[in-house]
Amino acid sequence: MLKNLLRVLFVIFAVVLVFSFKSGDVPRYSKYLKEEQVNIAELPVEDVLINLGEKPPLHYISKLDKDSARMGEEMIKYGELLDGSNKRISKYFYCTDCHNLQKESPDPANDSPEAVLEYGIENKIPFLPAATFYGMYNKRHWYNGDYAKKYGDLVAPTRDTLHNAIQLCATQCSQGREMTYWEIRCVMHYYKSLEYKIGDLVFTNYEINLLSKAVTNNPSLASEIIRSRFHQINDATFGTSKIPEIEGHVPSMRNGEYIYVYGCLHCHAPEKEITNFDLSMDKLSFKFLEDKLYKYNSFSLSHITRYGTYAISGRKQYMPQYSMENMSDEQLLDLIGYIKFKAHE
């Protein structure tokens, strides 16, 4: 009898012991440990802003779906899904012909052509005419400024809606077909995977102090400070075909070579098969470009750089122009100087 009683007591004790371990509160130090494990530098900027009280943008995605992002990445890099389950978006261009996918400058608040060029040389990043997709998700306005001169009223619905901006890029910029809703959704998830993280933003000590006070007292000021550390719009200012005249400017061969190799040849190298006009590092190419420098046509370097070309019936491939935001006049002179140098080398 006593033996059985002891057995029952032992079982009860064992059960209580097990459940007491499972149902207890998490110790306080353990909770703090969990918070510290969150990698703050990796926090998405958009989510931080929303926590500060900002209204989510129309394209806001609360949770990244990696499968969707992968499909978006395939469409951006290869123009279609690699399993062949959708039709090519464009037979003329891939997104990466004109857009980078990585950061183009160390500070998202400074994406001047000079900063982009320096960072590009350092990191061997293509020097392209369109904005990088890195941080595209965080912007609020697209196709601003002189894009209206090129695309007219088509830019109106894109200026505050990323969905429409992607569609315009697919149908006009890449001369392709309209994307379906799910395709754009996948691209949007890929954009989300490339959104700014807190660690991407560069703050001064003053801004950090200001931010520390504003977070609790004035959240709108805090979000304003965070917003000031990256660009909200995709602006464009178109130049003219006139060769710039900048007194005292000595062309940089280093810059010119980088722009030629990582800009011009990004599309015009024969193996890229993007354009019908091939260029290479041979002297004939440099001589050709030099001979046409002062013409007023698409073979003139300043003309083609600032005006680009337009898609026409029978020849849909065209060259987008470099706006002043993407290539400065000094850089254009560097490129011209390099071409002249190589033509006579």
Binding site: V48, T96, L101, I208, A269, P270, E271, N276, S280, L284
Partner: protein, 307 residues
């Protein structure tokens, strides 16, 4: 910065955001790598633009149509420029159209092209449908691979009415008698930015020939390109029949030309003693002589479309 991180940590405390961006397919560095491969210092990069077009003049070059691209080609050859059939009377041959070919050629795979064309034909070989496939075996590189090597196999079928004269070479007792084949290997090297040379060896077979002639002909040729500027180049092409029967009076194909590149179009203005447009015609059936003024003006326009 630590302070900022702490502040933002407070903002997000309680949430379950644990986010990391995995590499989804390809590292960004690979994209940069693609561009870097174009730099001349990359010592294993492919040598491009050995020739401007997929034909040197009339014969194939080692150049390939990119995958998913369609090339539309219109080629003409006129009458004798000089000699008894040329001169002002025929406005230097322009009044006499010897042959014209319209063709669509396509980049099926990266290393394989196919083509289908139709030409007027020459002599007794008229109304010719032709097709070919071309396979790139080797591609010249800046190191380790000094040449490009391509194999081309072409078939022509003249579907014009058969002659009622049973001794004529176009009497064609059976349909298979109409077939003409050419298989050749092209070996090319771009020696510099300006100079490219190509050699070709091959075998031409006509299923039905004149009684003095022979069905199979081995041939070898040489062709080249000299670029004067980026958009203008000089071309030549010669093909020698190695085992022509002595009773036959046919000659060898020799052509020279000027290429004009406009970015999108490739024009070639040519002069040749041959009258046929495809290798199945100009290799076995050339019978005109340059020294008797029996050469003609021709041109081709190539336009490439992406599909």
């Amino acid at each position: 910065m630590k302070k900022l991180i702490y502040i933002i940590g407070i903002i997000v405390s309680g949430s379950t955001w644990t986010y990391s961006q995995d590499s989804l397919i390809i590292n960004d560095s690979e994209i940069v790598g693609e561009v870097a491969s174009k730099v001349a210092s990359d010592n294993s990069s492919i040598v491009n633009e050995t020739f401007a077009s997929i034909r040197v003049i009339n014969n194939h070059s080692i150049e390939m149509i990119p995958v998913r691209s369609l090339e539309f080609i219109v080629s003409h050859k006129f009458g004798d420029l000089a000699g008894s059939n040329g001169g002002v009377a025929t406005w230097f041959g322009l009044d006499n159209l010897e042959d014209v070919r319209i063709a669509f050629e396509y980049g099926l795979y990266k290393n394989m092209n196919i083509g289908l064309g139709r030409s007027k034909g020459i002599g007794h070989t008229t109304q010719v449908v032709d097709g070919y496939y071309k396979y790139s075996i080797l591609q010249q590189r800046t190191s380790k691979m000094p040449i490009s090597l391509v194999f081309v196999s072409a078939l022509s079928i003249p579907y014009g009415p058969a002659s009622t004269d049973s001794t004529a070479p176009n009497s064609y007792p059976t349909f298979l008698n109409r077939f003409i084949f050419t298989n050749q290997i092209l070996i090319a090297r771009k020696f510099s930015d300006r100079i490219s040379l190509q050699m070709n060896v091959g075998y031409n077979h006509r299923n039905y020939v004149d009684y003095k002639d022979q069905n199979g002909l081995f041939f070898a040729g040489i062709s080249g390109r000299f670029r004067m500027t980026k958009s203008i180049g000089f071309l030549f092409e010669y093909i020698h029949i190695l085992d022509r029967p002595s009773a036959i009076t046919y000659t060898n194909h020799l052509a020279v030309g000027i290429e004009l590149l406009t970015g999108g179009h490739a024009f070639a203005l040519t002069f040749s003693n041959s009258t046929g447009m495809t290798e199945n015609l100009f290799i076995p059936y050339t019978n005109r002589n340059w020294f008797e003024g029996q050469f003609r003006f021709g041109f081709s326009i190539n336009r490439r479309f992406k599909l």
